[in-house]
Amino acid sequence: MQIKVEDLSYVYSPKTPFEKVALDGVSFTVNEGDTIGIIGSTGSGKSTLCQHFNALIRISHGKIYVGDKDLTARKLDLLALRKEIGMLFQFPEYQLFDDTVAKDVEFGPKNFGYGKEEAARLAEEALVMVGMNYAEVKNKSPFELSGGEKRRAAIAGVIASKPSVLVLDEPTAGLDPIGKREILELVNDLKKSFLKTVIMISHNMDEIAANCNRVIVLHNGKLLYDTTPEQLFSDPEAIAATDLGYPHSVHIKRLLAERGIELDTPALDADSLLAALKRRYSL
């Protein structure tokens, strides 16, 4: 299932002194199977764009098609759309609310019309999938969990109804290194299961380079680049224009090139940089 964005614009508080153009004529296509990174500095329109995908923000100008569904249609089936496109907000652990972890995760499936038993079964599946011990956590209060566990419980709530598209807004912000790695591994695991497409906002270029097959760069609400991480991070002009910086591994490759040491890799993650260095020095 494709997601097509056509000439999308959005203005906050139009015709007031606080008017702010958040999106300005953005067009691109997300193909099934993509892990697509949406990047850009704060205020570039990333979150506004992503909130359009499951109609949390209704389209005021332009078009979005999710498969053959037109999101500007008057009789849009919101429930079906939101079941298809799961959305994980920034710091989702702040949205845990129920008295037990199990009930919190069941909330989504119940909203999508699953019966009590089916919702409970889906919640169990989801909690296991995010690597939690169901028997141990199901009756716990979400507030007794650690930071990383809370975030995983929140993700379980979103994936319980098995969306085919997952939109993640800064999924690793504020986690420790292990927590970050676990979340990214989880997303990659889900992609081997029911999840088809991932749309991920991140400020962490190391994560974008290592996990995404495509990147969309937003700047002041405009789409500046629609390309691959390899292309983007080998274009100094693009990086300078966006305040984003290079992933560490690419930065090291570039510093080496300046010193006359060329490597046979785009160096999109530390492992491929290390492997290339080992080849070069015959280790």
Binding site: G174, I178, G179, H251, I252, L277, Y281
Partner: protein, 289 residues
Amino acid sequence: MNDIYSPERGAGAHEIIKVENVSYDYVSGEQVSRGVRGVSLTVRKGEFVVLLGHNGSGKSTLAKLLNGFIVPAEGKVTVEGIDTRDDKRIYELRAKVGMVFQNADNQMVASVIENDIAFGPENLGVPRDEIEKRISWALDAVNMSEHRRRSPNKLSGGQKQRIAIAAILAMYPDVLILDESTAMLDPKGRGEIMETISRLNKEKGLTVILITHYMDEAIAADRIFVMNEGRIIKEGKPREVFSDTEKIAEAKLELPVASRISAELRRAGLDIPFALTDEELAEGLCRLK
């Protein structure tokens, strides 16, 4: 503007914080969860200290012990000679040790920036004309003077955190503690905060204790304490700490990318120095040729 901080720094500077064999557990009903166990450390005036550790390692507990948010169950914490258990001096202590947290939005109290900055000194009973001076000084210290009469909710995340820091500075603290204060910011915002605190530390001699998950931020420290399971398992300069790759792994931390790669290449037999930064790694490899 006069500088209120003395430039006293380095090995000769006096010990501003003393933590002696401190333990603290969180007790709720029958459940006891570990905070910190048997922690001892000293911080000298003007030092830039980083606390590293995974979630739940005890970093934030230690930070809260330093300004008397919580008091030790065992052992003793003193700041400039004030025992944190001394109820009579708690306000004096809180004014000496300022804390900035993760979410700037939760730390704003007023709808105009200068009133937000005035809140702390007002509570300390500072006279009005003196408060005026402090507002100007604090906003200047974080490079936000031109925003003085604006509303904080129109600012970027990095700017809001700089206001939160200014609000603490206006109380003229001796120690500034930042508990993951850059976690919600983009790289630009993080850069702004790191530049601000590093300048306050170097130029004004402010003692800084930074809690972070970003190894890049830790590299700038005078000293790093690595915590695991409530204990300090490693202490030293960034190079000493990160080159102890076993301790870093034990603490479930990750090395900076350049450090990891230089360590792996050394292990594979390449004769290059251990690198902390991308530049050091590139230089090391360049010298090989």
